[in-house]
């Protein structure tokens, strides 16, 4: 019985092994006997590979991940502490380092907040209403994911730079966007644009509009419906989006590098300071800042795993 369903969904490749029209019989044709004789080991356990091959595949996967992914992470911490714990904390207490940490936190707070509000509104609009140009809207939201970070920075230089479209006007009014905090925030908002909306759209689409309609028909206002019905339903997805958005906002390098102007103590975020210190051969200081960012990444990964489990759990009971 199980074999029949299996064959019903089989690919054309499989049919070469079952040339007879009556698949439920599956009488071995003479040439299949040859195939059997060739691989008795595989026949004993048809669902897996022989032991040695299994070992080689696991060894390859583990070695590759250890060398290419784990080792760089270890190097960050090893280099940060290479001159001892004292040097590590001294590097982090430098005024320049503190300024960079403060700026990074500020930029992340601004861009996460704005993208949080937008992400919820956009996901709401896309998942609960039908309108023309929806696909185009989704494509636009996704766009920053596929654009090189350098180009993300470049577009803001073209807008607000000295030769940019709004450059002369901004200069005349003494407003600083480029090579200042607003430019860094704008570039960060651009690159972190998709995270919240992307996390929410599938979730909200799956949940549909029934609960909201019920709330409104029972006399709830729009805002009440949102805060009492929609928000509790999407809270884990929302947290997930905010988490990833924040990680990227704090770690963004390319886009911010283009618009920041690298003014020491003023427009250097943590990733930019990592670059400057590294290029000045101040390795301990550079890797001390890098270690903070690496810890952020590790914490993000742990929380992400926990949230993913929560999301799976919430999907199971009402996932019919």
């Amino acid at each position: 019985m199980s074999m029949q369903t299996g064959l019903a969904t089989s690919t054309t490749q499989l049919r070469t092994y079952a040339p007879s029209t009556d698949v439920s019989v599956a009488a071995p044709a003479p040439r299949l006997e040859i195939a059997r004789g060739r691989s008795t080991a595989a026949r004993q356990n048809p669902r897996t590979e022989p032991g040695p091959i299994r070992f080689v595949i696991i060894a390859l996967a583990v070695t590759f991940l250890s060398v290419f992914v784990v080792l760089p992470l270890v190097v960050v911490f090893a280099s940060a502490f290479s001159k001892g714990v004292g040097a590590y904390f001294a590097a982090l207490a430098e005024p320049e380092a503190l300024a960079a940490i403060k700026l990074t936190l500020l930029v992340a707070a601004v861009s996460v907040t704005l993208n949080l509000v937008f992400g919820v509104v956009a996901a709401w609009a896309i998942s609960k209403f039908e309108f023309t140009g929806k696909t185009f809207l989704i494509t636009l939201i996704d766009l920053p994911f596929s654009v090189s970070p350098v180009i993300s920075g470049l577009v803001f230089v073209l807008l607000f730079g000295a030769q940019g479209y709004f450059g002369p006007w901004l200069q005349a009014h003494n407003i600083h966007i480029l090579f200042a905090v607003p430019g860094i925030a704008l570039a960060t908002i651009f690159v972190t644009f998709p995270f919240v909306a992307r996390a929410l759209i599938p979730l909200m689409q799956e949940q549909g509009t029934q609960e909201e309609e019920a709330a409104i028909s029972l006399g709830a206002s729009g805002l009440q419906t949102f805060f009492r019905v929609t928000l509790p339903n999407i809270k884990w997805g929302l947290l997930y989006g905010v988490l990833l958005c924040n990680a990227r906002a704090m770690g963004e390098f390319g886009a911010v590098s283009v618009v920041s102007g690298h003014i020491r103590g003023e427009t250097n975020t943590m990733p930019l300071l990592v670059e400057i210190l590294y290029n000045e051969y101040q390795f301990v200081a550079s890797f001390a800042i890098a270690s903070l960012l690496a810890m952020l990444a590790l914490i993000t990964l742990v929380v992400k795993t926990v949230l993913e489990r929560r999301l799976d759990e919430t999907e199971v009971p009402d996932g019919d």
Partner: protein, 261 residues
């Protein structure tokens, strides 16, 4: 609705429009001149060529990793599953300095490799290594759900009909993974082409030898040659749009090809 569109326009549409407006300020001859200059051509060749090579390595290693993670049970499996996401999560500048330190002549891996006469850091090989690093999660995370959902009965049917394991894997399982594999490949490739932070530290950045296209954009900007920077950016952008278009086609093809159980 109005808020969505306004915000979207301010943050995405207007900046992108500026990019294309700037390009139209160039005459076709000027545009062509920028694009076909030796340095630009070499930078584009380095970026696209090495990205392609790195995506190929990611395709093979990604498949092996997915297979080990999904099909086998071994100590530390869940840990390694989580580790795959590190290149996603680690800020690119951190990855850049870490890989450089690792593969520099006195680094943990650089020193033994130097004794073999292989120089990685500050050569095109370094760019390739960084691109492999950032690309690996794309293939793994694209293929993993497909392999998990793959109908076990197909394999059992193939085996019970006399196919040996080799045949089952290469003629039954891998063909159903091909759409996901290609999507993962394209995503890794697109990411590598645009990558900046994790590449520039280890690259050496020698014009015509180890200078990637995104870096050339930054250099032209710092020289206030905005038009040049924009022309290179537009070529990269059009290339990534083509890749996205291809990905969407592949996914549609995949959906049409794999029957719904």
């Amino acid at each position: 609705m109005g808020l969505t569109l306004t915000w979207l326009s301010v943050i995405i549409l207007i900046p992108l429009a500026a990019l294309f407006l700037k390009t139209f300020e160039l005459s076709l001859d000027q545009f062509w001149g920028v694009i076909t200059s030796r340095r630009t051509l070499n930078a584009l060749k380095i970026s696209f060529g090495l990205s392609f090579a790195a995506a190929c390595v990611n395709l093979v290693m990604g498949t092996i990793i997915v297979w080990a993670l999904v099909r086998y049970r071994f100590p530390g499996r869940r840990l390694f599953d989580a580790i795959v996401d590190i290149p996603f999560a680690l800020p690119t500048a951190v990855a850049g300095v870490a890989l450089t330190q690792l593969f520099a002549q006195k680094g943990w891996l650089g020193a033994p490799l130097a004794e073999l006469g292989i120089k990685v850091a500050f050569t095109p090989i370094g760019i390739f290594v960084a691109m492999v690093f950032i690309g690996i999660p794309f293939v793994v995370r694209t293929v993993q759900p497909v392999l998990i959902d793959l109908d076990v009965e197909i394999e059992e049917a193939a085996a019970s009909l006399g196919a040996n394991r080799w045949h089952t894997v290469f003629r039954v399982i891998l063909p159903s993974l091909i759409p996901a594999l290609l999507t993962g490949f394209a995503l890794a490739f697109a990411r590598a082409v645009g990558e900046y932070g994790s590449v520039i530290f280890i690259a050496g950045n020698l014009p015509n030898v180890s200078e990637i296209a995104p870096l050339l954009v930054v250099i032209r900007l710092s020289e206030f040659r905005y038009a040049d920077a924009t022309a290179i950016a537009v070529v990269m952008l059009v290339a990534s749009f083509l890749i996205i278009f291809l990905i969407n086609r592949l996914q549609r093809w995949a959906q049409a090809r794999i029957p719904v159980h």
